[in-house]
Symmetry: C2
């Protein structure tokens, strides 16, 4: 099972929107997909119209009160979700002194390994215990990035501090799959410059032994499109809401690009 | 001294952009303004080209290693900044068991009360110790809000959980000054609907005794404008970068609206 952590500590860069719509794109192509909402804001959960205060949430899984199988909510035949809980922020504090707190999620998921082809984890805008659980579970990180000032600085911190440490101390098989340009405003000088900077960053890492030495800058940008912001208010993804708009085209193309890149992995 | 916390736990809604440009707008009108960067990402600090790893940061103030006066960096005659530090995230953890941790900043600022007319505090996208310090220090909260799905849900949590508790247990003089519509895309149904919902929310609170019973929904929206995203990469605010663009017009108009609203307070 491909296990993908979608992470960027910068807020509002399209992590949740990418998890919802990439997962739906993969599901429409026939993959069995499990989404996991690891954000106390529970936006992924609420975007699908699922209860944000269920007793069988990822919070209960992390506290070992329910099994993963008990927590899973079926969205459709190919798409399922482990919901978050609006009190999940407390877990960051409660877990602080639990031995092996970084790998609780990974251990819990072993029981459903064969039930899914792809697992996507939506992370909060922070690098605490919840994000670390995602990174310890994942074999790949996808990083949504809005090409604005300081995007590169945040990326550097995420890679050199957090991902490097998790890869070294907890999860040696963790790779950075790549960066997804989100909320992309084509034709602006800012976007063009930042994309070039990000490409240069990864070029420089090509022959090192870092977990991002073969990371891609995905060619498909996710263009700014108000439909992507509207779909959640109807409890659906872009593919149910407005399947012909740029948002749907972009996420579907991105899914195809990921499949191509991972065919041989 | 008017002391304003700029807070919303939702990421990427324009908190930092609002602190930088509102502060500059007030400074240009002759107010003596102190900005405080309480975000470990230190984006406000970096947006002004100030060192994000100074030994005399807000981190050092919170750990009582330097005084506020020692930490202040002068941007221009009317605008100063207490910078953040990229390691500030550790403060959230280190301060957990310090008695009276919520009011360290407030106590430290007493020494400079008479040196400034306005103080604006930039908060991280979370409701932890750093945000609580801002709320315990402030006499007013301004809430930047992107009119997207779940904006109202985040607002409800911010008010009913965090602001209500700080007002009740630590800072009874705390008021919610109002909500600022940011990244506003005029002509979209989503923006129109969410703005109506937010107005309705505050209408319903009008005659209650909550800290937001006289909160405004500021009439001036901050329109989406790429210039606002470009200015920081030049180390300046919108007024130096592109003084005639919509971003400058909007933040200047918002500053005037605030002054009008607060003339009698
Ligand atoms: N390409 C896009 N075009 C227009 N709006 C978008 C786009 N992508 C996301 N949005 C909207 O922008 C807002 C922020 O996106 P989202 O919540 O996915 O970011 P996030 O990184 O998950 O935020 P957080 O850090 O708070 O978890 C949401 O209201 C979302 O609907
Ligand atoms: N009105 C606007 N038009 C266009 N871009 C904007 C606007 N306001 C802010 N931005 C850009 O959007 C991004 C997010 O804004 P900003 O960093 O101010 O949000 P924030 O709420 O402080 O984020 P965080 O939660 O991470 O602290 C930045 O790159 C900023 O330059
Ligand atoms: Mg999110
Ligand atoms: Mg900010």
């Amino acid at each position: 099972m491909h296990s993908i952590a979608v992470l960027n500590q910068k807020g509002g860069v399209g992590k949740t929107t990418s998890v919802a719509n990439l997962s739906a794109a993969f599901a429409r192509k026939g993959f069995r997909v499990l989404m996991i909402d690891l954000d106390p804001q529970a936006h992924l959960t609420l975007n699908f119209g699922v209860d944000g205060k269920s007793q069988k949430s990822v919070y209960a899984v992390l506290e070992e009160r329910v099994s993963v199988a008990e927590s899973v909510v079926k969205i459709n035949d190919h798409l399922s979700l482990i919901p978050s809980h609006l009190d999940l922020a407390a877990a960051e504090i409660e877990l602080v002194s639990v031995v092996g707190r970084e790998v609780i999620l990974r251990d819990a998921l072993e029981s459903v390994q064969d039930d899914y082809d792809l697992m996507l984890m939506d992370c909060p805008p922070s690098l605490g215990t919840l994000a670390i659980n995602a990174l310890s579970t994942a074999n790949e990180v996808l990083i949504p990035l809005q090409p604005h000032f300081l995007a590169l600085q945040g990326l550097g911190k995420l890679l050199h501090e957090t991902i490097r440490l998790v890869s070294k101390r907890i999860n040696p098989q963790l790779r950075v799959g790549g960066v997804i340009m989100t909320m992309y405003e084509g034709g602006t000088r800012l976007a063009t410059e930042i994309v070039e900077d990000v490409k240069g960053f990864f070029e420089a890492a090509r022959n090192t032994d870092s977990p991002w030495s073969d990371a891609l800058v995905y060619r498909t940008p996710i263009r700014r499109n108000i439909k992507l912001a509207e779909a959640p208010s109807h409890g659906v993804t872009i593919f149910e809401y407005e399947p012909k708009c740029n948002g749907a085209i972009d996420y579907d193309a991105l899914a195809d690009e990921w499949i191509q890149a991972n065919r041989d992995r």
